[in-house]
Amino acid sequence: MKPSVRYTVTLLAGFVLALVLVVASIKMGAVSIPWENFSHLEPAQAMIIWDLRLPRAAMAFLVGGILALTGVCLQGLLRNPLASPSLLGMTSGAALFAAIIIIAQHSFLSFLHPAWAESMIAAGAFVGCLLTSLWLYGLARQSGQTNTALLLLAGVAITSLAGAGTGFITFIADDAQLRSITFWNMGSVGTATWSQVLCIAVFSLPAILILPWMGRSLNAMLLGEQEAQFLGFPVEKQKRLILVCVSLAVGASVAFTGVIGFVGLVVPHLLRLWLGADHQRLLPTSLIFGGCLLLASDIIARTVAAPLELPLGVVTASIGAPYFLYLLQRSARRMNP
């Protein structure tokens, strides 16, 4: 199959899969809604669909797409297949700041309207995310070059530092605060509301509108930043743009769903094996398939032990990690026969 044909087919398949998954996520769950009821829903069923399942599906799809998209961008930018928002400590940084904001809100900002409170958490998470990425970037930059090994090491260190911060906040939190804080570290889209979805959508709008068009410059950066510059790309400017877009989107996502690992690592890697390293193809497909993966994981999370719900992070890791390891083993075998 020609690569361009393969790409088109994959993209279409992604759209179809997304549609199927959205329908499935509306229908399945603790209360199953039979097909014949869809034409005239009972009020309770309508409420379940409109206020619970649909925002939840939208959030899962959006966040999954964001995580995979930003994963591709960071991997291309850092020329390292291991880079992802969670491994670089960006999600932990965001979680720490979101936790701080939550504590502040419960303690002395309680007069705020709930909608404001939500966007403040998102803004806090964004600031956390941006600060972490800037700090990381500053650490790993030596005489105009970004040292990727150092970057990943610093990411690990920052993750544990932010973990300690979050741990301390957990320690001083009261019961209500504790419940909200523990939420992220599990990762869940269970509390999704339309206002949260809207908030994430607004914050990730730059990422969704800009990043899919960065394919060529990310391709060029695979050759090295200097080479990209020689091909006429304003590398520094674009790097900053990508980092800001990624921080905005990841920050907002993390604020409401918590730390969901592996999507940003597995989806780009799978697509790279399937479509090749061309970012012009990787970026749009990873947005869609990342969404599909998280949506599917959420369906599994809430049906497998219904009416109980598994934490989403547990599901993505337990599906993603073994399959990922299998693929690594296979490609390693193919490289040294």
Binding site: Q75, L223, P234
Partner: protein
């Protein structure tokens, strides 16, 4: 054309290049020679605007290099760096196609670009690697593929400016046959009016293909001029601090250069070679 006016480059309060004024004309192959640590790579990096001079000015086509935008320069200037591996494996044709990116801002790359890519691959004799993934290439093959990418980038004449080609040790990982092929190609480009600047270590390759030589030593200009005037025993001995012997071969227009190591006393007793 690239002209240096009293250029110095300082790093960590040490002169890497000091007070250099030199001119690299279009339509000539200029080879930069010098011992290790002479500042050759720094020289090329300043030419490519990768770094800016601490003092002095570099002119590109009569305009201060600082005032050129990366986008504009990408249209007529190719830079072959010492190759580092490609981060993710990709097809060779895809990699070479990147050379056409600067010429199509938003528009899709078309058949014309594909055609140029194929021509460039053929030019570097790597056409058979077309669908191969970069992860399975040898060092020399990758070097040739990267060269093809640079050629694809400056394949066509720019309407206003002569093209520029900067090569940092283009022959480093090539076998002798391809070393000649590579420099022959560079020479042919120079004859078409391209300003080619290359760093080389092989004195004989330099003597054979260069039109113009720039010698650097300890960050200073140790001489610059036409190849015939520069490739002389006395100058080479001064620059490289090693005993040099040149020989004339009737089949070649240029001298053959031998470097005699520490034991050159014994070698000097060899049968007489006619020196130039």
């Amino acid at each position: 054309m690239i002209r240096w006016n009293n250029v110095s480059y300082v790093k960590n309060s040490r002169f890497l290049l000091q007070d250099i004024s030199v001119e690299m004309p279009a339509g000539q192959l200029t080879v930069v020679l010098g011992p290790n640590g002479a500042g050759k790579s720094t020289f090329l990096r300043l030419c490519s605007k990768e770094m800016l001079p601490t003092s002095g000015m570099i002119e590109l086509h009569g305009k201060d290099l600082q005032n050129w935008s990366t986008q504009d320069m990408a249209l007529f200037r190719g830079v072959l760096s010492q190759s580092h591996p490609v981060a993710f494996p990709m097809d060779v044709a895809e990699l070479v196609l990147m050379g056409r990116y600067p010429h199509k801002k938003r528009a899709a790359l078309d058949h014309h670009d594909q055609h140029i890519v194929q021509e460039a691959l053929a030019e570097c004799s790597v056409k058979h690697l077309n669908d191969r993934s970069t992860q399975f290439l040898s060092g020399g093959e990758l070097q040739r593929v990267q060269t093809a990418r640079i050629l694809a980038q400056i394949w066509e004449d720019h309407p206003q400016h002569p093209r520029i080609l900067l090569l940092d040790e283009p022959t480093a990982s090539l076998d002798p046959g391809y070393q000649h092929l590579c420099l022959l190609k560079a020479k042919k480009l120079a004859e078409q009016g391209v300003c080619v600047i290359a760093i080389l270590h092989d004195l004989n390759l330099a003597a054979r293909y260069a039109d113009h030589i720039v010698f650097l030593k300890e960050g200073r200009l140790a001489g610059a001029g036409p190849m015939r005037d520069m490739m002389r025993e006395s100058i080479l001995r001064d620059v490289f601090s090693v005993e040099i012997h040149t020989v004339h071969d009737p089949r070649l227009e240029h001298p053959l250069i031998f470097t005699l190591g520490p034991q050159h006393q014994q070698l000097a007793n060899e049968p007489k070679l006619r020196s130039l």
